[in-house]
Amino acid sequence: MYDRPTLEELLAAVHFYVQERVQPAVAGDARLAEETRITGEAIALVLRQLRAGVEPLRAEWQRLDYVLGRSVPFPADPNDAEDGLRERERKLCEWINAGLYDLPARRAALFEHLMLNVRAQLEIANPSFLEELAQEDQNRPL
């Protein structure tokens, strides 16, 4: 067993250091300031992905069951999940290129799948982008 801090806690400490200590210190150098801001965001991304755990991968796996039309059990070892997903996505790409999703109903189902996948990616990568879009859609005149 490792002593505390946990991985997450330690990373949160690094995030604090970059944002609260380094960022103000580099304010005079536009280039460094920008890179430091990006570094802070990258650490925040890693924290979100750590916290989300294996669940987003499992959800994507199940959506793929539907869009590929075959149920495959989610890997018992979550470490295998990413490799498995990569393999299934490769299959999906092949099928898209072979025209298997050109029929309207299938294409609509595929589109729904892709939309959910990309949004799930952005929940980790940049949730504020999704919030911006939601805000915009809300304000759009009907």
């Binding site: 570094t39 999703y101 990616q121 911006e132």
Partner: protein
């Protein structure tokens, strides 16, 4: 490194200007640019006069097969300048990597800001912003009227024989995906959707290739210059017309679909047509908007590979890989707007 850089630059300038004792009095790295560095160079001549230039130098590796070499870009800018397009006057270029470790070009410094957020937010630019849609429309018409046969433009990339600009652009994206070795169903779907909707383009023209906020220098007087010509090529005028409205370059003002400004794209299109631009084909612009997001989704992945390959180590480049999803989502949203199944 800076001292050495200054020394080598001074020697180069002395040689090309045939001026001994030229003195580089300022040398500052300018913000922005992930594939190029920009430096502000102030040179004092022995007679006491000073000149301010911008030097743009390639970074170690550049993605994008389409990107021009420095000498080609220099010639495009020169041709644009002579046709009355507002560009910083080009001065010299050097393709010899041993001078400053990479090819570079030098042009006049133009005062103003090219930083997108500043252009949209600075209070002293409020009047400049009002005039921009018309100014940009007029400038783009001039760019699209450039003579492809001009000697300075002869080396521009053109669609391969029998390919329309849309076919060429999609073939390039397909090749880029293969090179990256990614199997991303969203990119594949986007490509396939586009392949079934390629617009005809009877007269391919000279394009800027990256016509958007970030590449326009703006001062309180208005547009001062159009920069960053490395993606110039021959293609469909609708590609440039679409580029300026891509979401990413609205800088968080997503609901203001023309470059994050309150003007409508129609003002820009009208100015473009009045100044002699091609009749704006809305359906083609819609196609190129989807393509533009696909292209940037792929470019983001390619930029992160530059870091991952170890050639250009940078947290900024690495992070771009995860930013690709923003362009992918925007691409899907635009496809939904036009209809996922609009062809059946």
């Amino acid at each position: 490194m800076n001292a050495d850089f200054r020394q080598r630059l001074t020697e180069y300038l002395e040689a090309v200007l045939e001026l001994p004792d030229a003195d580089v009095t300022r040398l500052e790295r300018l913000a922005g640019g992930t594939s190029r560095e920009s430096w502000l160079v102030e040179l004092k001549k022995p007679d006491g006069t000073a000149q301010t230039w911008v030097l743009r130098r390639d970074l170690a590796t550049t993605y994008a097969d389409r990107a021009l070499y420095r000498d080609q870009e220099f010639r495009v800018i020169r041709a644009a300048a002579s046709a009355g397009v507002q560009v910083p006057a080009p001065r010299f270029y050097c393709v010899e990597p041993c001078i400053l470790d990479a090819p570079f070009l030098v042009m006049d410094y133009v005062s103003g800001s090219s930083i997108g957020r500043e252009v949209l937010e600075r209070a002293d630019l409020v009047d400049a912003r009002k005039g921009l849609p018309a100014q940009l429309g007029e400038q783009l018409a001039r760019i699209h009227a450039l003579d492809r046969a001009h000697a300075d433009l002869a080396a521009l990339p053109v669609p391969r024989a029998t390919f329309s600009p849309a076919q060429e652009a999609l073939a390039e994206m397909r090749a880029a995906i293969l090179r990256l070795g990614v199997h991303n169903p969203t990119l594949e779907f986007g490509l396939r959707w586009l392949e079934k909707r390629m617009p005809a383009c009877p007269v391919p023209v000279v394009l800027h290739g990256d016509f958007r906020l970030g590449n326009f220098i703006i001062s309180p007087r208005g547009l001062e210059g159009i920069i960053d010509w490395e993606f110039a090529h021959v293609g469909d005028p609708a590609e440039d017309l679409a580029c300026i409205s891509l979401r990413h370059w609205r800088y968080h003002r997503g609901d203001q679909s023309f470059a994050g400004m309150s003007a409508s794209a129609e003002t820009f299109y009208r100015a473009y047509e009045v100044a002699g631009g091609w009749p704006v084909n809305r359906a083609a612009v819609a196609f190129w908007s989807v393509w533009g997001n696909l292209r940037w989704a792929i470019l983001c992945l390619a930029q992160s590979r530059r870091h991952l390959s170890g050639h250009d180590r940078s947290v900024e480049l690495a992070s771009l890989g995860r930013q690709s999803a923003e362009f992918q989502l925007e691409m899907l949203r635009l496809i939904a707007e036009q209809g996922v199944n609009d062809d059946v």
